[in-house]
């Protein structure tokens, strides 16, 4: 049951919670682009202290489709934050205006603090470098949609496994299912953190760290790609050196299974060659599209059950 709950990290969600969201998202997808009345009279506040396009817009679209209304904190440098208002006071104010708060913040734990202050439910739309639970719900929904299941799949996660909040949340979410094997594909500098490995070991999920996609591509049912950011490398020449090895091209996929699907939380820069877009593997635009029905499902389940 998700009614009235905060969504702060995927680890707070049970497998049943995931499945409840998937079922509701299927229903939302079936209803298409109709304007619904389910959340009529409800208000959602979006407070993005960090830039976001997809997440903010898909949350707002989801609320509007459900018949609810949206208020937005606006750009932080133009709002009262610029005058030095702290996060706690901002949240207290939003909590008195809206029925649910969606927050994104640079600092880790900001959503938890917001949830402690607000009486209404808080959804974490990304804080720090670890948590982005709604993205993980969308990622897993996309896998379920195209593969029909999540259990028993072999999944490769490629790119920045250290600082990427989407990859971290994705891997944590996978631990709720019976994954056959996870391949962690990254340059040595951006390997997954120790605590993530500990989590995988604790949950009994088989995983292997590799440096090249080509070594494992033929085994994968899902390839989750993410952006390698230049600023993560102290030495720009090091970045140039590794970058090429993590670009997905039709050539790097030549041994892929027919049923492989490629996901990416987007935005992408150049980590997926545009020629891949027309291959049947490419599902990242569907994944972005599912952002709306999955978030509709979540808002509905939290606000009215």
């Amino acid at each position: 049951m998700l009614r009235g709950r905060d969504i702060l990290t995927v680890l707070d969600l049970s497998r049943e919670d995931f499945e409840e969201v998937f079922r509701a998202a299927d229903e939302m997808l079936r209803l298409g682009e109709k304007r619904l009345e389910i959340l009529r009279g409800r208000i959602m506040a979006t407070a993005f202290f960090e830039p976001s396009t997809r997440t903010r817009l898909s949350f707002q679209t989801a609320m509007i489709r459900l018949g609810g209304e949206v208020i937005d904190l606006g750009e932080v440098d133009k709002s009262s934050i610029a005058k030095g208002e702290n996060l706690s006071d901002t949240i207290r104010m939003l909590d008195s205006y809206a029925d649910i708060i969606v927050i994104r913040h640079r600092l880790e734990g900001a959503a938890k603090l917001a949830a402690e202050i607000a009486e209404n439910p808080v959804i974490n739309a990304g804080d720090g470098s670890r948590n982005h639970p709604t993205q993980a719900l969308i990622d897993l929904y996309t896998i379920k949609h195209f593969q029909g299941r999540i259990d028993g799949l072999t999944i490769g996660v490629l790119g920045d496994l250290k600082y990427g909040r989407a990859t971290n949340s994705f891997i944590a979410a996978l631990t709720k299912f019976k994954i056959e094997k996870i391949y962690l594909i990254s340059p040595p500098q951006l390997k997954v953190r120790e605590e993530t490995k500990e989590l995988l070991i604790e949950k009994g999920i088989e995983f292997e760290e590799v440096e090249k996609l080509e070594e494992v591509v033929e085994e994968l049912d899902v390839l989750y790609a993410s952006r390698i950011q230049k600023e993560r490398f102290p030495d720009p020449s090091e970045y140039e050196l590794v970058r090429g090895s993590y670009v997905i091209t039709p050539e790097s996929l030549k041994n892929a299974k027919d049923n492989l699907i490629i996901l990416h939380p987007l935005p992408r820069v150049d980590e997926i060659d545009f020629r891949v877009d027309s291959l049947p593997y490419a599902k990242y635009f569907d994944q972005a599209r599912f952002g709306v029905p999955v978030r509709m499902a979540l808002l509905k389940l939290i606000l009215v059950g």
Partner: protein, 159 residues
């Protein structure tokens, strides 16, 4: 005075901390704010045989009563130590220094990107104890894991 007398001599009023992990007595004195210039009579033994710990340290301080609120801090440096409060040659209180399940407001999270380090927010740091001995804490906000070394370093650098 023989070594044994130093350890065994009774104190009139003060605190005896026994079963300190070997090598942590000086850190504990620092935590208690004892530099030696305060005038308290202090007896300190390090690396003596212990049935329970193999080796241990012991501290005796004459004239200073460890406040109950400092027990948690002592526990974070010397988990499972025994604190004896002595008044008029009698042990009037015996406390076991067990790290609390939740450590609130005592330590600063080492993650610079943790919300608890943001100035101007009404928020206290809060850690959950994931290992008692040696103490290991996890930040309830950002999940950063504070090791025993992190904890000791921070507690004594505050002084």
């Amino acid at each position: 005075m023989s070594k044994k007398e130093l350890i065994l001599r009774k104190i009139k009023d003060g605190t005896i901390i026994d079963h300190i992990p070997a090598g942590q007595a000086l850190n504990l004195l620092k935590l208690m704010g004892i530099t030696g210039r305060e005038g308290f009579t202090v007896a300190l033994v390090m690396n003596v045989e212990s049935k329970k710990l193999g080796k241990k340290d012991i501290i005796k301080v004459e004239g200073l009563e460890l406040k109950p609120e400092d027990t948690d801090k002592v526990a974070l440096i010397a988990p499972m130590a025994t604190i004896n409060v002595v008044r008029n040659y009698e042990v009037v209180e015996k406390r076991k220094a067990v790290p609390p399940k939740i450590v609130e407001g005592v330590l600063k999270c080492r993650n610079p990107n943790c919300i608890t380090n943001k100035p101007n927010e009404p928020i206290k740091s809060r850690f959950r104890t994931i290992c008692v001995n040696p103490p290991k804490l996890i930040c309830e906000y950002c999940n950063y894991v504070m090791t025993y070394e992190d904890i000791v370093k921070q507690l004594i650098s505050e002084k």
